[in-house]
Symmetry: C2
Subunit: 257 residues, 2 copies
């Protein structure tokens, strides 16, 4: 392995056996030395969860030709942490990539996204990091139109680095008849999920719920990720983990607390 | 119950039996009509996780004198969602409060915090929301010095509302000989957790890990939450869920993607 090859950690939240991570591993193999540490089971919707009350297991897997790969019982954020300090034993990572997620992580979904929590964890650790998601849920999703864009964006990040404390949230439109129109760098759309819990009874007659709901786009702008996806562009949102609302500090100071 | 009493949802991430939620319920009972929907087991470190691959259970509990209370098998964010649409069946909530957490949720810990995910979920739903945390982990933590500040901050939020798309992250110092010096409205400190996984073998000889680590404060400022706590102030950070790094959009646009 050449010393000049960047060292790239690949992870995801759909689990190490997902078709999406395979596409990402294959694309990254053309760019650098790849190590995979990914959840041993699906972790969608895990947000930025970490495992602090239970133990974590890590097992070597033989799933990708010529690539060291490990499944982990923890969350996507755990995978990044344990990859860095245990699997790679402090070797310097040049890049963390997460995905390719089966399903959109645009707009407010970034809060709930395990895919993006892994990328943000990379950014917290000071490593350039990108989360990739395809706006198509199925396990048989077609990734053929996105590989080129994964390459372009990854190479630009390796070339330029990323601004401090920022990860990229990249969403791809599902495959359409026309090719993707290009890349839009944009902001997170203003939107929310309107929950509709599906209430059922189990065979013992006890009530349970499935979380369901509809995505409500509240944003009329053309500079946001939902607009980009709806118009067949790749959406790239620089995403930060400083959640301080600086503009609100003065407002609240006026309360005279 | 007077019609003028605000309707307040109380939740947390330590679970419905924690001492901290009891302090919060008792304090809120003096302010409004209280409904509790909180996890049936500890959910610390759950970040903004939601339950989408498993069912959710909700059970009425009789834990608080004169207060409707429900345990929920889901995450803190689930609790807010299901409280709103199922337990309260669309009754308008005036406030969501979460905590009082046993342990600090200052600085970068806000990302991993189940306490704050519930408050942020409230803000996403357009409800004024506050997460309260005490910087002391033990189940026997002393909350006697914080009740007054929970009241002050809650009443100010009910009186003034909160800026749009903002929740408050409130941290209290652990009890000291001197009384708390006051309240500082501030920003999230720049810091990170330096992980040190504790590697062990189980009785079958297989390896497992416990996540451990040390909090590394990288911030020399005096306008952040860690400084406030270290100096015996209550730290109030207005916290947002728009993660877009607006300042980085132009930088990345210059790459010519």
């Amino acid at each position: 392995m050449s010393k000049n090859k960047p060292l790239i950690l690949v992870t995801n939240d759909d689990g190490i056996t997902s078709p999406g991570i395979r596409v990402l591993v294959e694309t990254m193999q053309e760019i650098g030395e790849v190590v995979v540490v990914a959840p041993d089971s699906p972790q969608s919707g895990m947000g930025h969860a970490i495992t602090i009350g239970e133990v974590i297991r890590v097992n070597e897997e033989h799933l990708f030709e010529g690539v060291k790969a490990f499944s982990c019982s923890g969350t996507p954020a755990d995978c990044v942490k344990i990859a860095k300090s245990e699997v790679l034993k402090g070797r310097k990572l040049d890049l963390v990539v997460s995905g390719i997620n089966h399903g959109a992580n645009t707009s407010i979904s970034v809060l709930y996204s395990g895919t993006m929590s892994a990328a943000i964890e990379g950014a917290v650790e000071g490593i350039p990091a990108i989360g990739f998601s395809l706006c198509e849920y199925g396990w048989d999703a077609d990734f053929s139109h996105v590989k080129k864009y994964v390459q372009i964006i990854t190479e630009k990040v390796l070339e330029n680095g990323l601004p401090k404390e920022i990860a990229l949230n990249v969403n791809f439109p599902m495959k359409q008849d026309e090719p993707i129109k290009g890349i839009k760098v944009c902001r997170q759309a203003r939107a929310r999920w309107q929950e509709e819990f599906d209430k059922r009874n189990d065979p013992m007659g006890r009530t349970y719920y499935w979380m369901a709901g509809q995505f409500k786009n509240l944003d009329k702008g053309v500079d946001n990720d939902v607009w980009a996806i709806d118009n067949n562009y790749v959406a790239v949102v620089p995403t930060q983990f400083d959640l301080s609302a600086y503009h609100a500090v003065n407002i609240i100071n006026e309360w005279g607390l």
